[in-house]
Subunit: 329 residues, 2 copies
């Protein structure tokens, strides 16, 4: 069903993470073509980041040209709050070098073309709606359980960013008001300190002593990762199962709130921790059933994301296509 | 600045509460003219409610006609979830007789004219935006602290109702996940069980024994109301101050969540309990500063509502005017 002429129109999408930089040429059908991977510069100079992103885009462009395809637009997602109109990165705790920097205009100068900028969790939500779990839905909440917990809100097909672009910080809603764990954001008891990969490792460390028979004692404490804890849970390890249950319950408390607040058609759970979805989904869903109003709880499908690491790239591409054409879906 | 011809165009707005029924003719300038008050029928027959509302509208119409003014449209707010397209009352815990009833069509048959239906908290938010505390703002969260806690969400000037009309149940977001007080909705630890008028009375009763010197001991336990507790707080009573502090902290926890979720320009606090706003505002605001991200927290003004009991009537009127004219503001 591919339309050759449309396939030639490419967006170069860039996912600028705190650690890795990934880029891909994406066509109107959501197919990813040429890819480029690199690391994100760890210097404190935003110019280094600009140079690395620009190099990745040029690399993608050169690869596309070899097969006669053209890049029509460039779209970049960043791990932070973005002011869309000005291209300013308002806040980026995992990429401090560009915090307070007008990354959008700097990239436009370097590349001599317009560059779209978007928050990574917002882009992931759009990607899942375009090509993933939320296809065909209009009102979607997306939670990305990674190093932190990112959130994206799509209402009637439109991303809700808020007047400062800071909306959608769903990982920083309080689920444990008093005596909760300290969050990097300054608050205590945020969803992020119970349902992120970092939280899974912390919760496991805190409970190791109480589970002397856990398989996880065989792993060096410094090598404990959420993937390993996930594998232990799948293998039936009691400690790992207990940790994912606690994460699932807190996730369910937050999701019940989102169900009562938004009446969404769907909540999509992505990010690295979602690899363990089968382990904690039941606990999260049970909490939503217990706490949310019946009508919106019944309406809301809660599913694992489908686009994996490419959700952000796909969302970035979709935004660029939407800007160039009012109805890409 | 009144325009005589415009002033003649009236909306008959009806606020159908669980106990009281209030109606008023409202002009395009937001002025309330003729008013009608009655009680809401306590029978289990929805037809009795329809008859009482229709009588109030006819009464308003007759009064308007005496001075040569015409009612152009009718708009009714109800204490429950409304499916706007069909006029069905999905859920109405405080007006069970109309729950599951197509109140919109029934009123249209009785009055031989179109009738708009809206949820009371949603209408209050619109009323505060049109004529109250949120004038000139586009993205507003409205909390009505009454018998329960109602919520209204206005994003970019548009009410967010959700696909089933159940969105905005901000009073039923969890602020105390474990061991919280039982809420009528089935959940425990909802904002409503800490910040409603009912909650103020319960929290006071629970703490009376610990405050033997409280002024509130002079009031018969069955006559304890949130108004009286508010007056005691203003008079410096320690127990009353403690109760409002706790309510303020929980309200602040919920509001910090809304700030991080929506990045609103404003949160408006209405309802009977807001009479004590000066007593608990500082605690609520401190919690928002402590928990929410700095940029959206600084953006968000948190103010007491200004329209009092008329907020719902005004919002109902605004909706009717908006339907007849695309730009009433």
């Amino acid at each position: 069903m591919n339309d050759g002429s449309k396939e030639d129109e490419l967006v170069c999408a860039v996912d600028l993470g705190g650690t890795n930089l990934r880029a891909a040429n994406i066509d109107r059908n959501g197919c990813l073509h040429e890819r480029v991977r690199n690391s994100t510069p760890q210097s404190d100079k935003p110019e280094d980041v600009v140079a690395r992103v620009a190099a990745a885009v040029r690399d993608c462009e050169a690869q596309a040209l070899k097969r006669g395809a053209r890049i029509q637009s460039v779209s970049v997602v960043v791990p932070g709050t973005v002011h869309i109109e000005t291209g300013l990165v308002v806040n980026a705790p995992n990429l401090r070098s560009v915090q307070g920097y007008k990354l959008g205009p700097a990239l436009e100068s370097a590349l001599h073309r317009p560059v779209l900028l978007e928050n990574d969790a917002n882009a992931s939500a759009l990607g899942e709606r375009w090509q993933g779990a939320a296809r065909g839905h209009h009102t979607i909440i997306c939670l990305t359980l990674g190093t932190g917990v990112g959130g994206g809100i799509i209402l009637d097909g439109k991303l809700w960013r808020g007047p400062d672009g800071t909306a959608g910080e769903l990982g920083h809603t309080t689920v444990e008001p008093f005596g909760g764990a300290q969050c990097k954001c300054g608050n205590t008891g945020c969803l992020e300190v119970y349902a992120s990969a970092t939280a899974i490792v912390r919760l496991t460390r805190e409970s190791l002593a109480q589970h002397p028979n856990s398989l996880l004692h065989s792993i060096n404490a410094t090598e404990l990762t959420s993937e390993r804890i996930c594998n232990a849970a799948i293998a039936g390890d009691e400690l790992a199962l207990d940790v994912f249950q606690r994460a699932g319950v807190y996730l369910g408390i937050a999701m019940a709130n989102f169900v009562n607040i938004f009446n969404p058609e769907m909540i999509v759970i992505g990010g690295g921790v979602s690899a363990a979805w089968e382990v904690f989904a039941q606990h999260a869903r049970a909490e939503v059933r217990k706490r949310a109003f019946p009508v919106p709880a019944q309406r809301c499908r809660i599913e694992r994301a489908k686009c994996g690491d490419d959700a952000g790239l796909l969302g970035a591409a979709w935004l660029a296509l939407e800007c160039g054409d009012s109805s890409p879906l």
